[in-house]
Amino acid sequence: MYRYDEFDAKMVRERAQQFRYQVERRIKGELTEDEFKPLRLKNGLYLQLHSYMLRVAVPYGTLSARQMRQLARIARDYSRGYGHFTTRTNMQYHWPKLSEVPDILELLADVEMHCIQTSGNCVRNVTADHFAGAVAGELEDPRPICEIIRQWSSFHPEFNYLPRKFKIAVSATKEDRAAVKYHDIGMEVITNEAGETGYRVFVGGGMGRTPYVALEIGKFVGKEDILAYLEAILRVYNEYGRRDNIHKARVKILAHQLGADEFRRQVEVEFAEIKRHGTLHLPPEELKRIEAYFAPPAFEDLPETAPEFEAAVKADAGFAAWTRSNLTPHKAKGYAIATISLKTIGQTPGDASAEQMDGLAQIMEDFGFAEIRVSHEQNLVFPHVRKKDLPAVYARLQALDLGAANAGLITDIICCPGLDYCDLANARSIPVAMKLQERFADLERQHELGEIKIKMSGCINACGHHHAGHIGILGVDKKGVEFYQIQLGGSGAEDASVGEIMGPGFGKDEIVDAVERVVETYVALRAPGERLLETYRRVGMTPFKNAAYQEQMYAAY
């Protein structure tokens, strides 16, 4: 894992200290709310419905056991015993007191963590494939470049007042688990004809009010040039992004208005300029130095499978089901990647209690896992587990109520906090997600339905990625009453697409039935081996829409 050098450590400590003074001045009345608000937002501190909310950055979703323990401690001492993992792989605390936030920042700094640039119009936490460094078929670990981008973009004086927030993601396999085409900048590690490794760079993806799949701008950018290229993109955006209209201020609007060719041309001009000055060249030695921090553990030479593992699959149906959905093939023989579902039926998607976080840290220590990952799908991942340890790890997860065998299945729902917590929400999302989970709780049925990604947001800001859901659900407000719109056919993966809106919303007591009718329609229409997404792409909206509105159609007659 990356370890802070003296500059990082100093920077984070100083920021915590500065914020302590700012909070003191606010409480004494030396700063008004209007003066203080931009300062608190720069430290990830929001005021929401019931209390303050503090957003902690988890860079590229990687945590050590020590950090996980600290997150547990903060949850216990400052936020009523739980926290929420978000779709940006961050941790949100829903109950901190303003006066205690400086103490929390100190505790975070103790374990090399912070809340810097988790809010505001700057480059946010860079995300990566949550299977980075472990999954088969990866060209290289995408996290070293994420770390370099983090260093380059942290407190970057030119990019601290962008027109709007800016999100970057990096992936290094053909399968896209990081939703790169839904980011302001998405990077895919590729090789060119000469066999060199570099990046394909996408610009202008995004969710929100105007969803777009990103345009390919850089077809191949060499490693040493990548920072210069990113800087060129940000310069074009910083100069021409729409500062006059918050709804048009993201780079997606600029990029799609200009079109890929013109946007690329402008980037190339800036890029040439930066290169001419010889700045922002990324030396290979520096890249190597950072890469060393992310070196995988020394893998043992193990047989493909282990007798302990095979025996447990036969003996324990629960374990067998878990291995079917929650394990991913590892690049090293005898190892597996284990997804820890934070979607246990009856619990808020993405929430983890202090006890669960402590328990996970304990598992990491007991089994020698150096890291745990946070996925943008609001799950956690042990990236390198020996197969022979899996039965024991699973038993420990079960004891923590974290053994749900539903990763990638219909109850593995992405869900934003919605109107239960969020100040911007139009409708609640968590209770709907929980009801859907109950409806589809039957594991047999879930496995039979295969991969179905339901993603749900409580407002058009789309933190719950509903545009990218095979089934997307958007909460809307009609005169103070909650309604839910269905979208179908979205994908945040390598086959990215924006979901299509089905029609008017359903009431909170109808949405679950409507989704079930959509799912049943899929079952009736699917060709062998077809996922819901593919069936939808083949047959279109009509049969799903007819089924979903069935009862309303009767009611209308």
Binding site: R26, I27, K28, G29, T32, E33, L47, Q48, L49, H50, S51, Y52, R80, H94, W95, K97, L98, S99, T348, L419, D420, Y421, A425, A427, R428, I430, P431, M434, D477, K478, G480, V481, E482, F483, G503, P504, G505, G507, D509, T542, K545, N546, Y549, Q552, M553, A555, A556, Y557
Partner: protein, 120 residues
């Protein structure tokens, strides 16, 4: 009613008799727009004094078992997260709202916002 969040901990507070307090049931109800406006003006002193932030008025309606906010947002602010009955104001209530009848479920189900497209 008039509401805000307390500066120090973000707690939802309601206006009552010239001051703020955390209990929705005890909050002052304004029948006249003028009185509401006057209270909102008076409340600004507390904003200047750095006691509360984000003051605003919201609508309530009288129901058989008391007064309830019109909007779901204010119902949730007055209780706490509906998915964690052990959190927020509801956690301190003698009868937890899960056992009592939640106010927002007493109103009749709303009509569909638009006629569905029945032509297909």
């Amino acid at each position: 009613m008039l509401t805000a969040n307390r500066l120090l901990d973000g707690e939802v507070v309601y206006w009552q008799g010239g001051d703020w307090q955390p209990d929705f049931a005890a909050a002052e109800i304004f029948d006249e727009a003028e009185a509401a406006k006057a209270a909102l003006d008076a409340a600004q002193a507390f904003v200047r004094d750095n006691k509360v932030v984000g003051t605003y008025l919201f609508e309530v309606r009288k129901e058989a078992n008391g007064v309830a906010p019109v909007k779901e947002r204010e119902i949730i602010r007055s209780l706490g997260p509906s998915v964690r009955r052990d959190m927020g104001k509801q956690a301190l209530m003698p009868v937890p709202p899960a056992a009592a009848k939640p106010v927002h479920e007493t109103s009749p189900p709303p009509p569909y916002p638009e006629e569905p497209d029945v032509s297909i």
